[in-house]
């Protein structure tokens, strides 16, 4: 069973629908026993970092997530769930979970494209990814694949070793990051058509091992 962690952080229904469509059994839950029993975790999130961290702590999920990560369970972070796994966030200036060393930064403003057109924030819509290294969860990725993003902050791991793919929106930022059995993406695979469903499917069969 796959646990989709419920800490009142937005649209969990679409992650659940995608997994059901792919034929995997899953539970939207914040129950400790259920999360401990699960074979893998999906850590989604929409909203602001400060409130998310508060809610996680009040439910005791911050420690549980760390324990599961340390135990080698495959973990997938999505959107805000890909941000608050770093050490800290500029959004609400909050200390985060520290599963990957680094921080979450706000997009610089104003932001311009290569041909000097002003770019909008949030970075909202479909964009590609440039793979820095191969990863089992990204198997089958095609050059035409694009993913649905919506965010005003981006992840900046302390070392390149955690960076799996980059995306460009005025600046190039890490859009997929990972650390051992943890992989995290800024975009929403559950809202990214077949490109995203393939990633979710890969994650749901991943054993959590990753060697470059």
């Amino acid at each position: 069973m796959i646990a989709i962690i419920d800490y009142r952080a937005g649209n969990l229904k679409s992650v659940e629908s995608a997994l059901i469509k792919l034929g995997f059994s899953c539970r939207v839950t914040h129950n400790r026993e259920e999360i401990l029993r699960s074979e893998r975790l999906i850590f989604p999130g929409v909203g602001a970092a400060g409130k998310a961290i508060d809610d996680l702590r009040s439910l005791g999920l911050d420690k549980l997530l760390k324990e599961s990560f340390d135990a080698g369970k495959p973990v997938l972070g999505i959107c805000l769930g890909a941000q608050i796994i770093l050490d800290k966030s500029e959004e609400n200036n909050v200390q985060c979970l520290g599963l990957i060393k680094g921080e979450v930064k706000m997009f610089p403003s104003p932001l311009f494209s290569g041909n000097n057109e002003r770019l909008k924030i949030p970075h909202m819509g479909w964009n590609g990814v440039r793979l820095i290294k191969n990863h089992p969860v990204l198997e089958g990725l095609m050059p035409a694949d694009e993913f649905y993003f919506v965010h005003s902050y981006y992840t900046l791991p302390a070392s390149d070793q955690y960076v799996i793919a980059m995306t460009e929106h005025g600046i190039e930022f890490p859009s997929i990051i990972g650390n051992n059995n943890l992989i995290a993406m800024q975009f929403h695979p559950e809202k990214s058509g077949n490109s995203g469903l393939r990633i979710l499917k890969n994650f749901c069969t991943w054993d959590g091992h990753y060697a470059e």
Partner: protein
């Protein structure tokens, strides 16, 4: 670099899809879930559902439509029409929509934008603006006025000022519909779209008037829209989404190419 988005719009009444020509002669086209799946598979980047159900007791039908769409399609979609309270927003979002759009409810009570953004995040609050061109005046310095009730009622609100105010209040996106252009198939309102898009820093969806691919090209380049809403030109089979995207790519517009996947 972001792709420009192509967004089919489905008008839904009592659980059935229709298409309003200048908000009047509504023609039944079909089942919204079937149509959503069709456009999803054709490569639509997002979908908009607009609930034009008149009576509030039929609103639950729309929630059921949203739920069924969310189980079937895996791209973002928004729902507008009849959303008046934070509770209405919550019901639609919990049913699986990515975004909700408020239009006349925000005119009547602008605080619904900031309350919605605080409760659910700016990313899911779309401000729908229905706009008509009017003579420039002290009240309407841009020459574009916000209208409601399908364009029948003038509000005295300047469209540019309204867009800026909504951005400040926490709207995450603007869906900009020109009532003058809507249903004409003679092209988007380019001057209006460019005016709004250049003066806010949130994405703007151009709406109303698409009749051919050049119209979309103009909206996405000259008018600087981030996305283009389309209805009749795909509902009546004039073009497929793939044809639209391939033609726009040939003209140099960046698009998501689902047919290569």
């Amino acid at each position: 670099m972001l792709s420009k988005r192509i967004i089919p719009c489905l008008d839904v009444r009592d659980g059935k899809t229709t298409k309003g020509i200048k908000f009047k002669q509504n023609i039944d086209i079909g089942d919204p879930v079937e149509m959503a799946r069709f456009y999803y598979e054709e490569g639509a980047d997002e979908l908009v559902f607009y609930d034009i159900t008149a009576s509030s007791e039929h609103r639950d039908i729309m929630i059921d439509v949203v739920r069924r769409v969310a189980e079937e399609i895996f791209i973002p979609f928004s729902v507008g029409g009849g959303i008046r309270t934070i509770d209405d927003m919550r019901r639609v979002l919990l049913a699986g929509a990515e975004k909700i759009s408020v239009n006349s409810a925000a005119v009547k009570d602008p605080s619904i934008i900031s309350k919605g953004a605080r409760a659910f995040g700016s990313q899911c609050i779309v401000l729908g603006m229905d706009v008509k061109q009017v003579p420039i005046s002290n009240n309407i310095p841009s020459g574009y006025e916000i209208v409601i009730h399908g364009g029948r009622k003038y509000t005295g609100i300047d469209a540019l000022a309204w867009a800026k105010r909504a951005e400040k209040s926490g709207a995450g996106e603007i869906c900009l519909n020109s009532i003058d252009a809507d249903g004409t198939q003679e092209g988007y309102e380019i001057v209006l779209t460019r005016l709004i898009s250049e003066n806010v820093n949130i994405p703007v969806i151009a709406s109303g008037g698409a009749g051919n691919i050049d119209h979309l090209y103009d909206a996405l380049t000259q008018a600087r829209a981030d996305a283009a809403l389309i209805a009749s030109i795909v509902h009546y089979g004039t073009y497929t989404i793939k044809e639209i995207k391939q033609a726009l790519i040939a003209k140099g517009v960046k698009m998501r190419k689902t047919w290569l996947l």
